[in-house]
Symmetry: C2
Subunit: 210 residues, 2 copies
């Protein structure tokens, strides 16, 4: 999917930008102001040539012999990824996996806040308390429009995932992190990232067979 006015950056580069961002955050925490491409590449587990190529996609080149300013490169990558602004995210499907995801603090740390959750049975007694409100599915359209939500985490059962995805997209959601073990059909301008934890384990299981 090409974005207007931006170079066509490969998806793997986008992933690596996220990894560089985490390495840079660690350098800042340790009070380090500049980093060579060799050192940053090593921390990220890539070759220096790969790092330089990835950063060149958006016109960032280190100064020869001086490397990169940690603060400046952090800002450039965050701007590029669109994470320097606050991004409200909703979570749909508050079952076991939904609850597990809500207890994961990594999202917030990275600038994403799950602002509300939705479930077909919002009043059902759950194993643990969550800080976000749980609304019924009928509240979804108005909430998305009023809060200008563009990203959703989908942790509903596979049987209803497509239907819920359709509703989300109709209301203006452009990116879905899908945990349902199903291939969603969506319009071309909507981005789906699929994560299925059991499938990842099953996939490993195949490869480790003797």
């Amino acid at each position: 999917m090409k974005k207007p006015g931006r170079p066509d950056i490969p998806r793997k580069t986008i992933y690596r930008l996220s990894i560089y961002l985490r390495c840079l955050a660690r350098l800042r925490e340790n009070g380090i102001g500049t980093v060579s491409s060799e050192a940053l590449a090593k921390a990220a587990g890539v070759k220096p040539t790969q790092l330089r190529k990835d950063l060149a996609y958006f016109g960032t080149f280190g100064t020869r012999g001086l490397g990169y300013e940690v603060a400046e490169l952090t800002k450039k990558i965050a701007d590029e990824l669109g994470t320097s602004r606050f991004q409200p995210v909703i979570l749909v499907g508050v079952g076991n996996l939904g609850l597990a995801l809500l207890s994961y603090r990594g999202f917030e740390k990275e600038g994403f806040e799950i602002v509300a959750t939705f479930d077909s049975d919002p009043r059902r007694k759950r194993d643990k308390e969550i800080k976000q409100p749980i609304f019924g599915m009928d509240a979804l359209p108005q909430f998305i429009r009023e809060h200008n939500v563009r990203m959703a985490i989908l942790s509903v059962p596979a049987t209803v995932a497509q239907e819920v995805a359709n509703t989300l997209i109709d209301c203006g959601v452009m990116g879905i992190l899908n945990f349902a073990p199903i291939v969603l059909s969506v319009p071309e301008d909507v981005m789906i990232n699929n994560v299925n934890l059991a499938i990842e384990l099953e996939n490993l299981s195949y490869f480790i067979q003797g």
Copy 2:
């Protein structure tokens, strides 16, 4: 990575086999005994030609006009994926994400049981109780050997992920589901599946920018 004595099945096919398995499970729950390749493909969100090609990798062909026996195809795929046997899994790193993963019941449902957890600080007070024991890292080698563990979930901080992965691999672990935002260097016969939830969201964030 080619497995001895088996055809070189593409990784995407292995993923789709997991999806077919879930569709078949739903058919069984609904008391359906046979399914056409068209119906199964539709449920899985793939083209019928893709389904037939995927199944042909391990010599399974439907009977023309009759389709596939649901029970038989389930067993064949589970055997192929290595999930028809019980697979003990350990989880290393009982922080927020580790706790979240332990509360996700999807692993067990799919035939994987997290039998034990390990952490550098096993006695630290945690937000919630878990049913598995938490051992110190020094107990890792003996446990892996005694219980013949071949799969591990790695949810430690990025700074120690490579070191912990090395220990796991030295002790005989062959597959790691890695949640640390770092690219691990491992021997060729070890399989790593990377899952980084914050990176998945960040990646979406890039693509939904206007």
